[in-house]
Symmetry: C2
Subunit: 150 residues, 2 copies
């Protein structure tokens, strides 16, 4: 199997990322891969913000994984920055081969490089396999995650 | 009782905010209100980032509440931005009088104004009263919140 490269996403990766977001039990009802315009607009916001790191994992020039890492400065914990991991997706062809671990380990290492003291993420309460995955990587399910749709 | 004003925090509010962060069961072990230098450095990062909204609730010119609202653009959910509420604190003199509700309702309204489609926050699993509070305000505890300290 050829090597994986993890690199910043470009505008050319948007369609592949949206396809991965949509190919998911929860994402299927929320995404519109046939209409990329809103995603292109959001990509411009991400690209212009130095605290946003949208990446793709690429095998043979094809994006097969993605996540978004956000650095959030703050006063808490003696002025520590924290990072937030969102929108983790692995292409269906690549599940179960360790790519998710590679991506999360990349995000943790990058958070350290960026000076963060804490990495956090939330996972839908129904994604039991994901919970075990994050606990194996050293994350602690110490919090409840509350959401309010507007 | 005089009126509450919610406004952006200034550098002059840092000591009062840190005192509130420290006057908390969990925060007591994590903060150093006698050494404000790291907080001042973090405040500069917040002030320079247009996606960060650190606010204080002020009564009689005295900060009595605080929270940080962060806007996070993203591709998920058709390119929706979401907001994240962190570091919510109410001064001990003001607890139980509805100020927390005022602050969270401000954050929700501001998130809407800023174009966010989702507001999210995490709350330590041990803060049972806080969970009931957020549920009363319409938040759903749909996720687990994972943290990894670096």
């Amino acid at each position: 199997m050829s090597d994986i490269e993890i690199r910043p996403a470009t505008g050319d990766d948007i369609a592949a990322i949206v396809a991965m977001l949509a190919d998911d039990e929860l994402g299927a009802t929320r995404e519109t891969p046939d209409d990329l315009a809103p995603y292109q607009a959001a990509y411009e916001l991400l690209a212009a913000d130095p605290n946003q790191h949208l990446v793709v994992a690429v095998r043979d020039a094809r994006p097969v994984g993605t996540l978004q890492l956000t650095v959030v400065p703050g006063l808490s914990r003696r002025g520590s920055s924290r990072s937030i991991i969102e929108a983790v997706r692995i292409h269906a062809d690549e599940r179960g081969n360790g790519l998710g671990t590679r991506l999360i380990e990349w995000a943790v290492a990058e958070s350290r490089t960026l000076g963060c003291r804490l990495v956090q993420l939330t996972s839908d309460a129904t994604r039991i396999d994901a919970h075990r995955f994050y606990e194996r990587l050293g994350f602690e399910a110490s919090h409840l995650g509350f959401k309010l749709q507007l």
